[in-house]
């Protein structure tokens, strides 16, 4: 079996380097993202040629996120191309794919299908997976019906319990390779998207290091998988449009090189176009002998950037904010207040509220459960609204509290440009389009209950397919 890397989490799987193949989560263009702006660029930049696209005989879409479903890429495929998806893929994606003239086939979990000469089996991810990744279909793929010399991908989720159970029961052999998505997505100095903003110094968490990322990818993540499968690093292969800095620790080829020096494991970090050949005698990484993918020089577009990291970071932190004060747009205030009222019930039912009430019972709570600071560049002071947990509603923070460090008002909060929040609530943009640049957040050390996680749960594709669908159309 050949597994050709197309960038980020996209793969082309086939029995030969030239025959019809199964494309997994194909990103075939330079950019992607829901909405007309297509806000993300594939990194390292690469070009995929028509000859490769013509070899795509079928497609597997693992889940609904914009870095896995790119309708513009799917539009390049011939009509009637078969697109496989799992049982809980949002229905609006099925409709959108059908409207492209492609044929959708829903697959059951734990059932084997034959496609493009390969054998494919989907698994539900572990219930330990974060909310927004719970619909991921993990896959096992092999050129043999008994799944010898197979590759398994957990995609962006925790390894499937059912997959592990099948190995333990002897129903399938352990995989030869595991595709590990490196979604550390750590931006310089900012913590991860789910991390806590530097304003909440007490919860900034541990500094992320390359070694800790490698430990996570090589040891922790695949720990439950029996045998000694080769680790294939992928994921994290994108950056925002207009962004000068590449996210650290997302260069899988460098990480793989370091890992090979540090461990005895077999670790690969392919560049786009490179192929993994899974054979009975082992796994080889070979270059694209058909010249179907060309890669620009990694980092070419960020030359000289490392020296300016600290200045850029500083500029980002200083980019706050007049908020709504002084604004002559009273309509904006009213719209923002309405937007906040839409968040109330979700926050009050969430772990964020549990945390406040628990701290209250212990007498160590902060005045509010959640703060939203509306910020506008370039001044510092924003307008603050806070969720009064006992009254169960957002209130404007009194001027007496306006000068307090915002993290002293509430353990959870966001600082966001007013229009950005309105865009999110109204479905004009997605949370991942905002985090880090236009929306900062802080929270105690419980990332899965972070404000970003909550906003994504509330407005993401799983719950508000209507917003995502409208954004794509």
């Amino acid at each position: 079996m050949n597994l050709q890397f197309l960038g980020h989490n996209a793969w082309l799987a086939g029995t030969s380097s030239l025959g019809p193949s199964l494309a997994v989560d194909p990103l075939l263009l330079d950019d992607f993202g829901f909405g007309p702006d297509r806000p993300f660029l594939v990194h390292p930049p690469r070009r995929i040629y028509r000859s490769l696209v013509e070899r795509i005989g079928a497609v597997l879409l693992t889940h609904e996120h914009s870095d896995h479903v790119d309708l513009a890429s799917l539009r390049m495929l011939p009509r009637e191309t078969c697109v496989f998806m799992g049982p809980l893929m949002p229905a609006w994606i099925e409709r959108a794919v059908c409207e492209l003239g492609l044929r959708v086939l829903r697959l059951e979990f734990n059932t084997t299908v034959e496609v493009c000469g390969l054998f494919l089996r989907l698994y539900p991810c572990s219930p330990q997976t974060a909310f927004w990744e719970q619909r991921v279909s993990q896959f096992l793929i092999s050129s043999t019906p008994t799944f010898l010399d197979s590759a398994f991908s957990a995609v962006d989720a925790v390894v499937s319990d059912q997959f592990l159970a099948e190995i333990t029961a002897g129903a399938i052999p352990a995989p030869s390779a595991v595709l590990v998505s490196n979604n550390s997505s750590v931006r310089a100095g900012k913590g991860s998207a789910l991390g806590s903003d530097s304003r909440a110094r007490e919860w900034r968490g541990h500094k992320v290091t390359g070694v800790s990322i490698l430990h996570e990818l090589l040891d922790v993540f695949p720990a439950a998988i029996p045998g000694s499968p080769a680790i294939v690093l992928c994921g994290g292969g994108f950056c925002r449009r207009g962004e000068l800095l590449q996210w650290p620790f997302a260069c899988q080829w460098d990480l793989a090189g370091i890992a090979t020096e540090l461990t005895v494991k077999q670790v690969f970090g392919p560049l786009p176009g490179q192929r993994l050949c899974l054979e009975h005698r082992g796994i080889r990484l070979v270059d694209d002998d058909a010249n179907e993918v060309s890669v620009d020089q990694p980092y070419a577009h960020v030359a000289g950037a490392p020296g300016s990291v600290s200045k850029l970071e500083e500029a980002a932190l200083d980019s706050a904010t007049t908020g709504l004060q002084g604004s002559d747009d009273s309509g904006l205030i009213a719209r923002c207040e309405r937007a906040l009222s839409e968040l109330e019930t979700a926050i009050l039912c969430s772990g964020i509220a549990d945390y406040w009430w628990l701290m209250r019972a212990r007498g160590i709570h902060r005045p509010f459960g959640f703060v939203c600071e509306f910020v506008r560049r370039p001044c510092r002071q924003g307008t603050r609204y806070a969720l009064d947990m006992e009254e169960a509603k957002f209130v404007r923070v009194r001027s007496a509290d306006a000068d307090l460090p915002v993290c002293e008002l509430a353990a959870f909060g966001i600082a966001v440009e007013p229009q950005s929040l309105l865009d999110l609530v109204n479905g004009r943009r997605q949370i991942w389009d905002l985090v880090g640049d236009e929306l900062d957040s802080w929270h105690p050390d419980m990332p899965l209950e972070s404000p970003v996680a909550l906003l994504y749960a509330l407005f993401g594709e799983q719950v508000r397919g209507d917003l995502a669908s409208a954004l794509c159309s």
Partner: protein
């Protein structure tokens, strides 16, 4: 030292007094023959609670431990204060603001006891300690109570899980480290006819706990972090019944029989209304029934009314996001299969019954993230077809979302059926959504 007398008034309402003395501390008074928060739908017959003359005169204090309707009953508080007009009303200062406001209606001079302090009234010291799960939507503001006098002390383990280790230690230090003589343990297992009742009744039988499971679970949870082993542990909190069209069903009837067969290291007793216990020098003895009272009947809605066209859609739209984001919604994503039975994208079925038109069925389709119409299945078949389900009169569901009917009240009726796997039931999702800390506007619509 004269010792203490504990007398169960009914359900979780207790009178703590010093042996041989009048007065005492009345905890969570329930004195009006019924409790429950719903007022808009006609109730069934309710037996009156009969208390002997003079029982409630000369009280030293009335104490409210929790915002729940079976602890904070305004009509009962008014009645108790009428009998003891100068008796102070105490509650934890950590009671949520909506409950404090409700208390203020009943008694403007209600005293809030700070969490780091205690009140001393007559010979009694009264303090509160936080519950471990006080972050949970239903339990926000619930506190445990300690009443101490004559060198003895009684811990009322309220709803909301066990006391916290730090909380109970700090309170005990403040109270002068009295001997813990008795623990009154809220038994909210509500076994009814061998099945759990209320928010966690389960039509498909999965997860229905045995009495042994319930009691040992209660002890396991509630008796952690105690300063010393008590000589008496009383299961309280099932001393009421459901009055519905099938008559009166006592929740504790089955418990009592099962309790006699239990073997446990704890000195467990069950209490019926009127039962008493004497505590002296750390030793407990039964006093037997000393108060004549009927079991308290929970008012259960009896009838439903017609609803306007389009109500189903509005109700289901309101429930869509809360269900998807809840623990049930998250669990349903992984409920692809039970045994050999695979489930499609519809994992939650809702059957809306009505006396006025045919039953209508809807399903929460996880791929569409919305409710879709379902073919009507005979009652019982749907528990096999869908892993989660709820059957409820549509007028009751409407009343719940309008804050006119408590979820818990509706759950007791046989007309409300549900089934689920795991630990999140459809009714528990509704209860969290309509809890006072999430929907205080709903509380205003309740009695």
């Amino acid at each position: 030292m004269r010792g203490l007398v504990l007398r169960n008034v009914v359900h979780q309402s207790w009178l703590v007094s010093v042996a041989g003395q009048d007065g005492g501390v009345l905890v969570d008074p329930l004195m009006c023959g019924s409790f429950g928060s719903s007022g808009s739908i006609r109730f069934g017959e309710q037996p009156e609670l009969v208390l002997p003359e003079g029982t409630m005169t000369g009280l030293d204090a009335i104490v409210v431990t929790s915002p729940h309707c079976d602890h904070l009953d305004i009509p009962s508080i008014r009645r108790a204060r009428a009998a003891s007009p100068r008796c102070p009303l105490l509650a934890s200062a950590m009671l949520p603001s909506h409950s404090r406001r409700a208390l203020a209606v009943a008694a403007e001079d209600a005293i809030a006891v700070p969490r780091t302090s205690f009140a001393q009234l007559g010979g009694f010291k009264i303090g509160f300690s936080p519950a471990e799960y006080s972050g949970h939507p239903w339990e926000r503001g619930a506190h445990h109570l300690v009443v101490s006098a004559e060198g003895e002390s009684v811990l009322f383990v309220s709803d909301g899980g066990p006391p916290t280790r730090d909380g109970i230690q700090a309170l005990w230090e403040q109270l002068g480290k009295p001997r813990l003589s008795a623990v009154l343990l809220a038994d909210n297992s509500y076994i009814r006819g061998g099945r759990r009742a209320g928010l966690f009744k389960n039509e498909n039988g999965r997860g229905a706990p045995s009495m042994l499971d319930c009691v040992s679970g209660q002890c396991e949870m509630g008796l952690r972090h105690l300063p010393n082993e008590p000589s008496l542990v009383v299961l309280a909190g099932s001393g009421f019944a459901a009055a519905d069209h099938h008559g009166i069903a006592r929740f504790d009837a089955w418990n009592v029989g099962a309790l006699a067969q239990l073997e446990t290291r704890w000195p467990l007793r069950h209490s019926a209304p009127g039962d008493g216990f004497a505590i002296e020098a750390g030793l407990a003895s039964d006093l037997g029934p000393g108060v004549t009272s009927s079991p308290l009947a929970l008012a259960v809605p009896q009838e439903d009314s017609d609803v306007p066209d389009g109500t189903e859609r509005r109700l289901l739209d309101a429930l869509r996001v809360p269900f998807l984001l809840s623990g049930l919604g998250r669990g349903a994503v992984f409920c692809n299969q039970i045994g050999e039975r695979r489930f499609g994208p519809v994992r939650l079925a809702i059957r809306l019954t009505s006396a006025y038109h045919a039953t209508r069925c809807f399903g929460l389709d996880l791929a569409r993230a919305e409710f879709v119409p379902l073919p009507s299945l005979p009652a019982g078949c749907d528990t096999e077809a869908y892993p989660f389900g709820l059957e409820i009169p549509i007028s009751w569901l409407l009343a719940i979302l309008k804050g006119e009917l408590g979820v818990w009240d509706a759950s007791i009726s046989d007309r409300t059926r549900q089934w689920f796997v795991g630990s999140h039931s459809p009714l528990s999702v509704l209860a969290a959504l309509m809890s006072a800390s999430v929907s205080p506007q709903g509380l205003r619509g309740l009695r």
